[in-house]
């Protein structure tokens, strides 16, 4: 399997070349185009978070209930996937020995290879206050994950402590622990400053941030559109 991300960063689209007998799981609705002979099926199953219950949990996380599975038969095939918002795609290679997995912000999942387990993770009561989604996806196993962002993605090697606005996180390695904190020392400052709450990361690992904040974009546009 070969993945190439085209038209980065704002209109990125992933071109995936599947070898014969290969399989890719993707978020439902993310397919743009593919070879005519690729076999498409819909599944609820995804590793440990399988079955109907797993699908419902995924819905809670802001993901789709169903996942699409693309299979190449005897011939190599081609597949194009894109997220729905303007933004970048990042391929991330998961290996069993490295950092024990990835935590992905719930809308940041695009696709993965069959060896990858996606599970809904509840990061504790603290994430309710983060103003963003309560749920995160726990991505473990071995293989490739494609992450999607709103805006560009940039990577930060955290060693020690690092602070990011809650709406700008795409994913982080599990070797990092995080806590929700206010940006300012005083509560008034935190609320008035417009920064609100931030995530404070500790440890050593990689952190992926996005340049745009989907929640803020939705609020800006949504309030100016006529009511339904």
């Amino acid at each position: 399997m070969q993945v190439e991300v085209l038209h980065q960063p704002d209109s990125s689209i992933a071109k995936i070349d599947l070898d014969p007998q290969e399989e890719l799981i993707a978020e439902a609705g993310s397919m743009v185009a593919m070879s005519g002979f690729l076999n498409v099926s819909t599944t609820l199953r995804q590793g440990k978070g399988g079955g109907v219950f797993g699908g419902l949990k995924r819905m809670l996380a802001g993901e789709s209930l169903f996942l699409s599975v693309f299979r190449s038969g005897t011939a190599p095939g081609e597949l194009y996937l894109a997220p729905k918002l303007i933004g970048d795609i990042l391929p991330y290679q998961l290996s069993a020995d490295r950092s024990g997995g990835l935590v992905v912000q719930s809308t940041g999942y695009l696709a993965s290879t069959p060896g990858v387990d996606i599970e809904l993770g509840f990061q504790g009561i603290k994430s309710i206050f983060s103003g963003e989604s309560i749920f995160w996806l726990n991505v473990t196993g071995q293989g490739l994950v494609l992450l999607s962002s709103f805006g560009g993605i940039y990577e930060i090697d955290v060693d020690g402590e690092y602070v990011v606005d809650t709406g700008h996180i795409v994913a982080f390695e599990k070797s990092l622990s995080f806590s929700i904190a206010k940006a300012n020392k005083s509560w008034i400052g935190a609320l008035m400053g417009g920064e609100g709450l931030v995530c404070r990361f500790r440890g050593k690992g990689r952190l992926f941030c996005q340049t745009h904040n989907p929640g803020a974009f939705g609020r800006t546009i949504g309030s100016q559109l006529p009511a339904r």
């Binding site: 085209l6 038209h7 209109s11 990125s12 689209i13 439902a28 609705g29 397919m31 743009v32 185009a33 593919m34 070879s35 005519g36 002979f37 690729l38 076999n39 498409v40 099926s41 819909t42 789709s64 209930l65 169903f66 699409s68 194009y80 894109a82 997220p83 729905k84 918002l85 303007i86 989907p214 939705g218 609020r219 546009i221 949504g222 309030s223 559109l225 006529p226 009511a227 339904r228």
Partner: protein, 68 residues
Amino acid sequence: MNGEFVVDSGHLVAYEPGIRMKVGLSSGLVGSVTSGEGLVNRLSGQGDIYLQSRSIAGLVRFLRPKIR
């Protein structure tokens, strides 16, 4: 492209006249509804096709729940 290609209907911009287009389901009836792909275009023949990486429908699906 050469042969058969399946394109989501919201992402197809243009194709050369030598290519034939059919509208169809991406898989079975149930699969098409649940996969979120809905209807797709099946293109066959040889020539260039032009795709857009983002669709209007995708943006609308994101914005709709934000409207009060």
